[in-house]
Point group: C2
Chain length 221, copies 2
């Protein structure tokens, strides 16, 4: 499947939140569960999406918007799996904005989707300040990044509905204090769902798929 | 040693590059080798600085400016080692700017320093757009982030004088294609010095210390 590319850098009119609200209306009308995926570079956003497509992509119709500073590497991988994918290149921008998502939505077959993953730019600093029209904010914290990330990037953890701890297969080789990590995250955000996974071994992914399918079902009601 | 904190958010006057040039003059006058350290969150900037202090901190007089979105976690660690450290909290900002470094320099004993490490905000997107007055731009690429980072964040690699590949002790457990990584980095930046290290096992650190000491010596000439 060919990847469509949205170019940004034009004057964005209106406020991000107003535009996000319009995006949400469109997505709600189509009953598409929309998940804004945020993380550091290389924490495993694309790997999580690809594992999910492989595991549940026949039951759940998935579409993907890929946000990146440069390249279409990720969107190409997704499109190669036969999944509708739109690339947004932010031309140096640190985060996705709702107006760019509005454009990307025009290139997706909305009536044929149950889930839309929006892979945000790899950045723990400002991505959480821009709502895009999503139902769920999912953050991936990669275990090799260390257990102090919630202390150093508290807003990201406070603003997320789900925190996925990725690369847990590396835990035996890391000094990652899981108790301290979980305590800090829960302190910032007592309602957050925390799911540890390894896309390499598959450990923990079933819990994620079950959680996702339950959310899809709820959105269809 | 108590950590001093620079608060930002005030109106920054003048252009970043002009201010950076003024910083460089001050640092040159004091013959301080200044290294701007950039990376993703959790790639090991503070670990590299701490290892370096332990290994060469008696021969080479080190000072540190720590840039973070929130917290003084890193500066506290450095100060606990008896090293002059100033924390810049960017109040949500994605990168350090030269004007904040100017302020931080006022809180450092410049006449007593050979090296100044400026630990930038953990971010691969815009940190490289703001010179701070440094002699050397050093980027840390953490192996668990994957070998595709130079493709996805090309400007960071193109603008660096040194690329340190960190967490190499994890290599046996990762699908990191080192040949492909090195090829892409050299394609973006043929002059770059690449140093693979593990702060956990110490492997590769001697080469880094030697490189650093040679640069300090050259700066004193």
């Amino acid at each position: 499947m060919a990847v469509k590319i949205v170019t940004v850098g034009e004057q964005i009119l209106g406020k991000n939140e107003d535009i996000a609200r319009e995006n949400k209306k469109i997505l709600d009308k189509n009953r598409i569960l929309t998940i804004n995926i945020m993380s550091s570079p290389g924490a495993g956003k694309t790997s999580l999406i690809m594992s999910t497509i492989k595991a549940v992509g026949k039951k759940v119709r998935i579409g993907v918007i890929e946000g990146d500073v440069a390249s279409t590497v990720d969107a190409d991988k997704i499109a190669a799996m036969g999944i509708p994918a739109v690339q947004i290149n932010t031309a140096g921008g640190c985060h996705l904005e709702a107006a760019w998502v509005t454009k990307a939505l025009k290139d997706l077959p909305l009536e044929k989707l149950d889930v839309l993953f929006i892979e945000n730019v790899g950045n723990l600093i400002c991505t959480n300040n821009y709502t895009l029209g999503e139902d769920i904010r999912l953050m991936i914290a990669s275990m090799p990044e260390g257990d102090d990330k919630p202390i150093k990037y508290p807003a990201m953890f406070a603003d997320s509905d789900v925190v996925i701890i990725s690369k847990t297969d590396l835990q035996p080789y890391l000094d990652f204090n899981e108790t301290s990590f979980l305590k800090t995250v829960k302190g910032l955000n007592s309602d957050v769902t925390i799911l540890p996974v390894s896309c390499k071994t598959g450990k923990g992914l079933d819990a994620w798929y079950q959680w996702l399918e339950a959310q899809v079902k709820a959105k269809k009601r």
